[in-house]
Symmetry: C4
Subunit: 250 residues, 4 copies
């Protein structure tokens, strides 16, 4: 439906999906790999392990969003892509292709981390993350992530890489679940029995909570950014509709 | 009194207050939540717990100010809003509404953190923070925060999110009180008996010291930025008076 | 072959090579020096030592790239310079001079760190870093570094210093090898028997893996950024060809 | 001699010196205060104490340079001011006034930190920092600081706050002396017998090494930035000569 907003500057879908695939793969390599390294070197201090895991993830995200943002928007997250589709910035066809690329990339990235650290390439996680507080944490984490992505993307898109990286580093700490906040990340982390893994049976609640958090955020941001009754200015703040050139909100 | 400076680009008051409410709520979720997580995972090392608490708060602030700044200015602090009113950038009606939203949001955010970490939703803190050095610390912390907000906002508003986040991370460490520097934050932290709490009986001295620090900063910044006797240039450095589009100084 | 793209704003080769020499020297001083300091002060916690080593390296890189980027492009890495030559942004003569300056600078910087910490000026490292996972780590680390450098440099060159610094801090943690990702750095680190050293016999595999990773990245980035069949816009995104004024992709 | 370059946008000297005084005072409050806090909370881990000290100092510097840069250039360092005078960007009269403000501010800031932490207001430090490696460290630290300040200030002045903050955080770790790199800071730290103090008898060697490092950097930067034989472009890269509005290079 938004195909008509594709400009001549938008890369072809195959290239954009390749960027989503490569970026999400690298994101999982960062998350899972730094979790293993932090765990191994922390001498039993979970606090130190999570500190290094959270700093590496946030810093890695800054670099990855800067690198791939100009190609695909650097969503790396099915719920970000879905929000963009709902807001009319991504076509339904693109959404399907992006999401497939993200799930596939996430799996490859996890395997890559395992290979670097001489862990089994794929195993089921036994790391329990169950219960209401965990689900609430995922709701809050994803609500916040989408609010940051959409809020920053609207007016300060050039700052989106920094905002998202900073948010994710913080969210490891202010949620009880360490803020997965991303269905592709969550599913991939079922397959690593290391520091950042999650038991398959705990995944459905995470996915539901994440989806609800994202939906709530989209509703909030839509209302916050709605035009004034007497003024249409905010309704069309940018002429970049359809262009993925300026960051995460493409 | 500054109503006449409201431009057609300023969102309605209800939306701006919603942004202050949501942003302040999220700030307290970050502060209180990361305090709990850091404390639980630090194995008794208060230094490690405060390090993670301070990094999460600073990083979270960067993201939140970037996300909500274009809507409301992202004050999240009654003393910042009061300073803006004194400097003629916020109407008295807006000030009252902002402050109410900030206090309400701070309470909600604290409750949200408790729910995520399965703590009692509201309890009085027993964490003593009393004495002259603590009060002096709050004076210094708030003086510095306002000086950064007003100084950066004047000429480099696009850098305000980074400046405030960096300042707050540092201030956790260079003050003896860990730099509350915000009445809404201080009052809300009475209601958490966790790492970041403060005994209710210690709050009045904090609020007085914070207010004095902010007032001193406003006086200093006003003098530093005063126009030259022979030159009016600095008196009108920007044409954005009344517009909250470019960051914390609204 | 690209000599004809040298503009009047490109500094002379001698000055650009001096910048590569000084910058690479300082980079090694940062890497080796902060490794020694972190190791000495960590009380046996390898996690804490690597955390300080990785933060110091990333932060130092941000400063060094900002300082020397306008002169030489701040490559500090023979594989970055080689990629620039392959992409037609650096002449073959410049490439040879850059690489020589980088290797010489790296050795001097290592000696400088040793002198500051009262270590022997040059010794062979006995730190084993062998095996397939280590080589794979170097492949991944260098692939990612080049992808970030080339991806960010293309559209957001002013953010390249932040992107590279953030990437390197993360890569210390998400690879099993702590991400040397740079032949000049690797060779120089043979000569320090401290925290960041590498046994000479392990160096060849590192260099081969780094080169393969860089080559793979160049191929990927070329394809991702290829022009549309019907649109030549992306093929000439910038008119700065040959100018090293705007960051790492000079 | 550069008085004729003062534009109508340059604040009066009294205001600029007040900014240097307040900024340098706050810098010492950050350095000394965070050193005390880190030391008290680290449970004997010098590595953790220095990590928090270095992060707080770097983050604080980012905020302070952003806040005071538009007024005075945010030198906070007699050697930076001297370099600016040598390069013709600060008059001799301004230099004298800046330096006096910096030394006085540094002393006040140290006293302020002591008051916040209930330490004696002023005491002589007994912290030994002697020997050739320490002096060499100060030479390297100051050489690097000036190179970053002058290099970034020339072409990317808006990034100077980030560059300087990042450099200083790194320099705590890659030098053996923790990088004082500033005569006003060094003299003030004689008066604190806490984590960041320095024995008075060790100060002269620090000051000499810092001065030599700064002088070497000025010579290098002058040569690196010299105009081409056939091209005067780089000799006049900016029209902002004499204006302190855009950051540290005033």
């Amino acid at each position: 439906m938004t195909l008509n907003t594709q400009t001549s500057q938008t890369p072809e879908r195959s290239r954009r999906c390749a960027a989503e695939f490569a970026g999400t793969a690298f994101l999982l390599t960062v998350v899972v790999g730094s979790g293993i390294m932090g765990d191994r070197l922390s001498g039993g201090s979970v606090g130190l392990a999570l500190l290094t895991n959270s700093l590496a993830t946030g810093a890695g995200l800054v670099a990855l969003i800067l690198a791939f943002g100009p190609i695909s928007g650097a969503h790396f997250n099915p719920l970000v892509s879905a929000a963009m589709a709902i807001l009319g910035r991504l076509s339904v066809g693109d959404l399907a292709a992006y999401v497939a690329a993200q799930f596939a990339g996430a799996l490859l990235g996890t395997m890559c981390a395992h290979a670097m650290f001489a862990e089994p390439v794929l195993t089921w996680s036994t790391h329990a993350r169950a219960g209401g507080p965990q689900a609430l944490s995922e709701f809050v984490a994803t609500f916040g992530l989408l609010t940051v992505v959409l809020g920053v993307g609207r007016h300060r898109a050039e700052m989106a890489p920094l905002a998202v990286g900073a948010y994710v580093t913080a969210a490891y700490w202010f949620t009880a679940s360490t803020a997965f906040a991303n269905p592709a990340v969550t599913v991939a982390r079922m397959t690593t029995n290391t520091f950042t893994g999650i038991r398959p049976m705990d995944v459905p609640a995470f996915l539901i909570a994440q989806t609800l958090g994202a939906a709530t955020s989209v509703a909030l941001v839509r209302w916050l950014a709605a035009p004034h009754p007497l003024d249409g200015a905010l309704a069309q703040p940018r002429s970049t509709h359809g262009r993925p050139d300026h960051g995460i909100d493409g």
